[in-house]
Amino acid sequence: MAVYKRTYKAFDGALTPGWSRFLILPRSSFGQVTQSKFVMVYLMACFFFPLLCAVFIYISHNVAFLQTFNIPAARLFAIDNKFFEFFCTFQGTMASLLTAFIGPQRVAPDLANNALPLYFCRPFTRAEYVLGKMSLLVYFLSLITWMPGLVVFIIQASLAGWQWTRDNAWILGSLLLGLMLWDLFLSLMALALSAWVKWRIAAGALILGVFFAGAGFGSAVNAIVRTSYGSLLDLRQVISVIWAHLFRDVSATAEISAGAAWGALAGAAAVCLWLLARRIRAFEVAR
């Protein structure tokens, strides 16, 4: 490859298709995520619970093991909708923390260093930019949420037999939909908040704050206004209600209805989109 040509020359070869260019962003930033030892250790830790679930499922179907250790099968947890709902809750929480670690690095540095004009002076739109940045987050979140969830379900299905699989196929749908939805929302929120504050560290703190301070703020609103709608500000509760709805968990007790939770999630996503539309611009007008 000739790299030392001190003359300018134009390019007249074939260009790549426009639709595929958003994929350049995750490819370029993939190394930035994986070069962090902390993130890699955390990612590995995120696989511990799915591994535990897989081992538990294997043991619960291993009659010889149960007999050897004299464990009655009835004393073990049932592998049902609540089992997978708990899987969602646990891995969803891990995903929230991962979002706080890797999410702010995606957009905040571009805004802080005024890099957006460099992206948008090319045949590359704002929507493609957001899609490209989101796709990397969605990839890493998927890696610890619905992908291991799918593996755990397949292990259970293979050990429990065709009848169980046919009766509980809807659980797989709920698992995939619930976790994919959460991954998309987390990615969108991480981009929106980091675009808003433009500062990586502050954005990370803000993402954590939305999850942990949101619960306290929601409770305060409930207490002061004497309503239950303050809980809509608690995104962890909102997604728990949605997961309970998806997994047909009738025993779940919540202060808000499933419809209100779906509405709150849609509203929060709309606010994130609005923030992104306002912030992801090549040029800010000082009126």
């Binding site: 790299v3 134009a10 540095p109 260093n113 460099l118 007008v285």
Partner: protein, 302 residues
């Protein structure tokens, strides 16, 4: 035609930034001049498609800025005025990514990123993180990302901002080389008249959002060659009459100094031929030269 402005107006809220701009420019290198707040950067941002016009329209390389923004983006390279970079990326990764976003295939983008960085003089520093670059190096990296995909029109917003004299010279030389390569057109926005004078063929001068002057510097330079001031020593009596007889307009200024307007196709050797037969020495012969500064100041007075 490189640039056609057709009643272009831009308004931010109640403030009218650009007002009814109408001009067609086709030079290889076009300079955009004006005092602070004249609307130069807003015009550039509008042409690049970052700002929507509130009135009229403009065409860049024949494409309408409102309707054919993607086509324009595929044809231009843009070097913004402000510091614009991605801190945690090496220069070669940055320029490669920008090339890929412009549509270059992956391997081609990498090859051209190396070439572009060598071309602008960052070859040895191309694996360093952009965040560790000096201001001058960042300017050169911005230039590299603007040319990596081989644009037809390169838009440079204050390219010599913050550069020390040697770095400025290098930037000017690069711009001149690109202009002379014939591969691309340039639109250069600068508040430094000397930069524009050294690199541009045409200038567009803005004042308070309006065009106050457009000028083809090449034509002006050629026209200026017809105006001559000379100082003669010796027996120069009859010089004015002799020059008038040769078709020149010649007015004596006293003390052997003359101001002349030469006719089209006049050969200066005629003057020396006349002088050599009469023992007349010329101590000084200057073509009049309207500097860009004079053009600019006249435009500002208007």
């Amino acid at each position: 035609m490189i640039l056609e402005l057709d009643g272009l107006g831009v308004r931010f809220g109640t403030r009218e930034i650009l007002k009814d701009l109408r001009v067609s420019l086709s030079g290889r290198a076009i300079g955009l001049l004006g005092p602070n707040g004249a609307g130069k950067s807003t015009l550039i941002q509008t042409l690049v498609g970052f700002v929507k016009p509130s009135a009229g329209t403009a065409r860049v390389l024949g494409h309408d800025i409102s309707r054919e923004r993607t086509q324009i983006h595929a044809l231009i390279g843009y070097m913004p005025e402000d510091d614009s970079f991605i801190a945690n990326m090496s220069a070669v990764a940055f320029v490669r990514m920008m090339g890929e976003l412009s549509g270059l295939p992956r391997e081609t983008a990498l090859e051209r990123a190396h070439e572009a960085l060598f071309y602008v003089g960052l070859g040895e520093a191309r694996y360093r993180l952009l965040g560790t670059y000096s201001l001058g190096m960042k300017q050169l990296a911005k230039l590299a990302q603007a040319i990596v995909h081989g644009p037809k029109l390169l838009i440079l917003d204050e390219p010599t901002n913050g550069l020390d004299p040697p770095a400025r010279q290098r930037m000017i030389r690069l711009i001149q080389e690109m202009r002379d390569s014939g591969e691309m057109h340039l639109l250069i926005c600068s508040h430094l008249l000397r930069d524009v004078e050294e690199t541009c063929e045409e200038v567009l001068i803005l004042k308070q959002g309006r065009i106050v002057h457009t000028s083809n510097l090449e034509q002006e330079r050629r026209a200026n060659r017809r105006f001559v001031e000379l100082e003669a020593y010796g027996h120069h009596h009859g010089f004015a009459d002799a020059m008038t007889a040769l078709g020149c307009e010649c007015s004596p200024l006293g003390l052997g100094r003359f101001r002349m307007v030469l006719p089209e196709g006049f050969d200066l050797k005629e003057i020396y031929r006349w002088a050599s037969g009469r023992d007349v020495q010329f101590r000084r012969l200057n073509h009049r030269r309207d500097t860009l500064e004079e053009i600019f100041l006249k435009a500002m007075e208007n």
